[in-house]
């Protein structure tokens, strides 16, 4: 029982990332009708926002402390981050410690900006082009973004730890008399994802803006005929989708040290998630994201692996293939989306 609960939990953090990326993909696909192969790159850029902020906060100046000596007997050079010099070691230190959560604030404007530029500068010109062209151009863009990041940050994964207080483990089962030890940050990540997903759904459900976007997702032409400037709203929607992917990336950094190809790795799986959930269905994307995350986690249990060797590597693809063949619309897909 403990083991099963633990596997479910283990699946949830990866599932959260899938769900967040798939949500953004679906928003873009549902509103703009564009298949965005560069969406994984947005996730990656988000992660590197966290890396960048961490580096900025760690910018230091050096001075020579004559009163101390290093082991060679020379005067000791002390490096002090500017932040600590300005705010004092206590506050400054905890600012640095909390770099990853702080990066959320840092990443939101950047991601919205990146999304805006991407949509206005590139994607906009591809609304009327075939889907193959959209796939190809965003695929090219994904390569470019990935290589740019690689150029500036190198090819190796970069450690970006969570704040110390959130870095340990917690026994989630204590209250119900079970023993489920689980990293705190992953719990944080899950609730963060739930918060964002909830926020997006509320936004779409309860605001006029969201209502228009939902109407546009259902029937773009009619909404256009009502004289509503749907394009501008869609641009904003693209920015939001980019921000969601970016935030998913920011918060994921303590779980998996970011590297330049993390976007591609997640993209392939997120596409599969979208297809399983049903193209154009937001609840489907979220549901399938968590579902596949948990399934993957179960498949990597030793008991399952000894029964079906290699299943952990392919479970997601197998599920996707079965779903596509038996229920082409996906779990919660609408009729007529992308059915030629």
């Amino acid at each position: 029982m403990d083991a099963i609960l633990l596997q479910i939990l283990n699946g949830l953090d990866k599932g959260s990332a899938y769900a967040l990326i798939a949500l953004g993909l679906t928003l873009i696909f549902g509103t703009l009708g564009v298949v965005n192969f560069a969406h994984g790159a947005l996730f990656m850029i988000g992660a590197f926002c966290a890396v960048t902020l961490q580096r900025i906060l760690n910018l230091s100046f050096e001075f020579v402390d004559e009163t101390q000596t290093d082991f060679l007997g020379n005067p000791l050079k002390v490096k002090t981050p500017y932040v600590e010099a300005w705010f004092g070691p206590d506050i400054g230190g905890s600012i640095i410690d909390w770099a990853v959560p702080l990066a959320i604030l840092f990443a939101i404007p950047i991601m919205i900006g990146v999304g805006y530029v991407m949509e206005r500068g590139l994607i906009k010109h591809f609304y009327k082009r075939p889907h193959a062209d959209q796939i190809l151009v965003t695929f090219g863009l994904a390569i470019v973004l990935q290589e740019v990041v690689k150029y500036f940050y190198g090819a190796n994964p970069i450690q970006t730890p969570a704040p110390d207080t959130l870095n340990g483990v917690v026994n989630l089962g204590a209250a119900i008399g079970m023993d489920i030890v689980y990293p705190v940050w992953r719990v944080v990540y899950f609730f963060f994802a739930v918060l964002i997903i909830g926020g997006i759904f509320c936004f779409l459900q309860f605001t006029t803006f969201g209502m228009v976007v939902r109407a546009g997702m259902a029937d773009r032409e009619t909404v256009g005929l009502l004289g509503i400037n749907i394009d501008r709203r869609f641009t904003i929607m693209f920015g939001i989708a980019a921000a969601v992917a970016g935030l998913a990336g920011v918060m994921y950094t303590p779980i998996n040290s970011p590297n330049y190809h993390m976007g591609m790795d997640f993209l392939v799986l997120s596409f599969v998630v979208v297809v399983v959930g049903g193209m154009g269905s937001l609840p489907g994307a979220v549901l399938a994201g968590f579902l596949l995350g948990v399934l993957e986690s179960f498949a990597s249990m030793n008991e399952v692996k000894s029964l079906l060797p290699g299943i952990d590597q392919i479970i997601i693809y197998v599920v996707a293939i079965i779903i596509l063949l038996t229920r082409p619309r996906g779990l919660m897909g609408r009729k007529g989306v992308m059915e030629e």
Partner: protein, 401 residues
């Protein structure tokens, strides 16, 4: 000639000349000149040109004709490579059985994947093929390790049985791949003055096979089958209501292009008998898409051009480094020289992929028809200009008469 019309025959002849004279064409610079590093007439590089040419020609039969965008074709290449290496391990070092098996196995694999994937079209098809390829890649790294040797890759050893050959040569090393005794690695070097040209047996085998593959592709393009594939791309609804079953047409195209990929994989292993899972990764699938688009999808000669173009510039760009740039721009004032080098630096050497991505985007945005369309546009522009000049000249002479 060969049942082709004049235009197609001339295309075949052009490609044949390019392929057979490649050792000359690709080595234009004398060996000890500063530009010698831009020579590309080395056996392994030339082999890659034609092998990827075959891969792209095959991919084009699927994508160019039917419009089905597969993102998993590298899987067939990988499967072909593994099959070929297994032939070398079990049967012997002759390349013919290896190549034949790699084509057959890739064809069967494509039949299986195509049967499932082609039940959907459009973006679903792309994602399905992507999922299959990624699945094969993951499997090759995990459960299938006994067959694929996992991360190390499949290699020949001295313990391999090789029932029609020897496990080890007289001097105790692993035998080399050959075509009925002609070693694939054997190279004849021709020194002409300051130039040196290399003629490699393996390259010429690949080139001949590529020509055969190209010829076959022309025949397919011009056949009723090829016309049906174009009709599939144009209007499936009309196909169905004209009494034509689109599924077997697309499946046949998929299997044929899978066999081309298998052939490329088999040749790759024949030139260098090892196979690794990274050949199956989806970035590798993206590369063949890129070659086809860049050259011109749906055109005959496009994929060959695209493959050559990308592999050539991959080689050149990877070789350029800051020192080379500094010598090039040494005529500029110092500060400016540094600035120019600084700007170009990210795009060269290891930055080749960045250049490739940018190139890819530019082509899709501005030149969806690829290099072939670009060539046609330039040609059209020139002839229009000529006509204009001619008209002007005529206009000027008229009043005088």
């Amino acid at each position: 000639m060969f049942g082709l019309d004049k235009k197609d025959t001339s295309k075949l002849i052009i490609v044949a000349c390019l392929a057979l004279l490649a050792p000359f064409i690709l080595n234009p610079f004398p060996t000890d000149s500063a530009l010698a590093q831009f020579n590309a007439g080395y056996p392994d590089l030339m082999q890659r040109f034609v092998i990827f040419g075959i891969f792209a020609i095959g991919f084009n039969i699927l994508f160019g004709l039917t419009g089905y965008l597969s993102f998993g074709h590298a899987a067939f290449l990988g499967v072909g490579s593994y099959s070929a290496v297994w032939m070398f391990k079990l049967i012997g070092m002759n390349v013919i059985p290896a190549i034949v098996l790699s084509v057959i196995v890739a064809g069967l694999f494509a039949l299986l994947i195509g049967f499932v994937s082609l039940r959907r079209s459009g973006i679903y098809f792309s994602i399905l093929t992507l999922a299959f390829a990624q699945m094969s890649f993951n499997l090759a790294y995990s459960v299938l390790t006994p067959i694929t040797n996992g991360e190390t890759g499949l290699q020949l050893t001295l313990e391999d049985p090789r029932i029609l050959g020897v496990s080890a040569t007289a001097d105790g090393s692993i035998p080399v791949t050959n075509l009925f005794g002609l070693e694939m690695r054997s190279t004849f070097e021709l020194a002409l003055g300051p130039w040196a040209f290399q003629f490699n047996a393996g390259y010429y085998l690949c080139a001949l096979i590529m020509l055969a593959a190209f010829y076959l592709a022309i025949r397919i393009f011009r056949s009723p089958f090829g016309m049906m594939l174009r009709a599939v791309k144009s209007n499936q609804q009309r196909m169905n209501y004209t009494g034509l079953n689109t599924r077997p047409y697309t499946l046949a195209a998929f299997v044929i292009s899978g066999m081309y990929a298998g052939l490329a994989g088999g040749l790759m292993a024949s030139m260098d008998p090892l196979a690794g899972a990274e050949r199956m990764q989806w970035t590798a699938s993206g590369e063949v898409v890129l070659m086809t688009i860049l050259g011109g999808a749906g055109t005959l000669i496009g994929p060959v051009l695209g493959a050559g173009f990308i592999k050539y510039f991959e080689n050149i760009f990877s070789k350029i480094n800051d020192n080379v740039l500094h010598t090039w721009f040494s005529f500029l004032p110092d500060g400016m020289e540094d600035a120019v080098v600084f700007i170009i630096h990210p795009f060269i050497g290891k930055g080749w992929h960045l250049t490739l991505g940018i190139l890819f985007m530019l082509v899709v945005i501005f030149l969806p028809g690829g290099l072939v369309e670009g060539g046609q546009r330039i040609k059209g522009w020139l002839s229009r200009r000529k006509a204009k000049d001619g008209g002007k000249a005529a206009g000027e002479t008229n009043p005088a008469e």
